[in-house]
């Protein structure tokens, strides 16, 4: 196979970046979920989901 270093760099860096991003999203969510009660944690369960500025 030709161009192996380029293939490794291209696929490796991209997959690693996407995986890191996904993990960071999950971890941030886990961290926040501990602070937000379950009844507010999902947008479908909120009845105030739709209009900005009614806080």
């Amino acid at each position: 196979m030709t161009h192996v270093p380029y293939l490794v760099a291209g696929y490796g860096l991209s997959i690693a970046a996407i995986a890191l991003y996904a993990v960071s999203v999950m971890r941030r969510a886990k961290h926040l979920a501990a602070k937000v009660p379950a009844e507010r944690a999902r947008w479908m369960t909120g009845n105030d989901a739709d209009v900005i500025g009614e806080s």
């Binding site: 999203v25 602070k35 989901a49 900005i52």
Partner: protein
């Protein structure tokens, strides 16, 4: 604990049955994609009429990651633009969070598009960076603009002001990308990128299918990522709005449970 709470605790806060299934499909897709890209499909080797061997050889496999990334990134910004528009029309929180989540993923996609493009360009075009190419420069400016958009989203202000401000910047982002594309096209007057090779039938056989499959996989992975990122954004918003109240309530109930004797005092 209610059943929802248990479910949330077990699966993680941004997961649901839908994302678990979608995530599983994406993971299987990744395995199939890697198989198609590295094993099933062959290198790009063609023979000219004079009998010379030309082609991209195995570097062609980089396209199976570069093309889905660029299509996903641009689609993500289309979603951001739609979300921004909806914020201005419907004043909807939901669309604001969608726009923000999509821009973050799109930004990552644009960065990786530039990276994989650069890595592919080195052996094929013999340069890491091509100044004369319209699509490279447009994508670069798109990436820069998306960083600006994400910075604007983090600015302070009331929820309403922030949503509106972000929506205006989000809509302008698309306008700007269009202008930049037009002006660079005029300036550089060329592109090294080939036209859609599939449409022309230049890449036939399994290469075309692999490319098509990778694009579908990219969009599926985007959807999966979007759901998670959106739910995180929702959590962030809820924490910003109710965080202090909830913390106080939690502290109260803790105190109530810990010292039932002094319950009367804390009430």
């Amino acid at each position: 604990m209610t059943s929802t709470e248990t479910a949330v605790a077990q699966r993680g806060p941004t997961r649901s049955r839908a994302t678990t299934i979608l995530g599983g499909v994406v993971l299987i897709g990744v395995a199939v994609w890697l198989f198609l890209a590295f094993v099933a499909s062959g290198p790009d080797i063609r023979t000219t009429a004079e009998g010379n061997t030309i082609g991209q050889f195995d570097a062609v496999r980089l396209l199976y990651i570069h093309v889905p990334l660029v299509i996903t990134a641009y689609s993500a910004f289309v979603v951001t633009a739609i979300g921004s528009f909806m914020v201005l029309v419907k004043k909807s929180v939901w669309w604001d969070l969608v726009a923000g989540a999509s821009a973050e993923i799109g930004s990552l996609g644009a960065a990786l598009t530039l990276l994989t493009g650069s890595i592919w360009g080195r052996p094929i075009w013999n340069t890491w960076w091509e100044w004369g190419d319209v699509r490279i420069l447009t994508t670069l400016v798109l990436f820069m603009l998306s960083l600006g958009y994400l910075a604007v989203r983090r600015l302070e202000g009331t929820a309403e002001v922030r949503a509106k401000r972000s929506a205006v910047v989000g809509l302008l982002l698309v306008v700007n990308v269009a202008i930049v594309n037009k002006s660079v096209e005029w300036w550089a007057d060329q592109t090294l990128h080939q036209n859609s090779t599939i449409a022309e039938g230049a890449i036939a056989d399994l290469k075309a299918f692999t490319l098509f499959f990778s694009i579908v996989l990219g969009l599926a992975a985007y959807s999966w990522m979007m759901i998670h990122r959106f739910r995180l954004a929702w959590l962030e918003r809820q924490y910003d709005r109710f965080g202090i109240d909830d913390a106080i309530a939690a502290r109260r109930s803790e105190a109530d449970h810990a010292q039932p004797v002094t319950q009367g005092e804390s009430a």
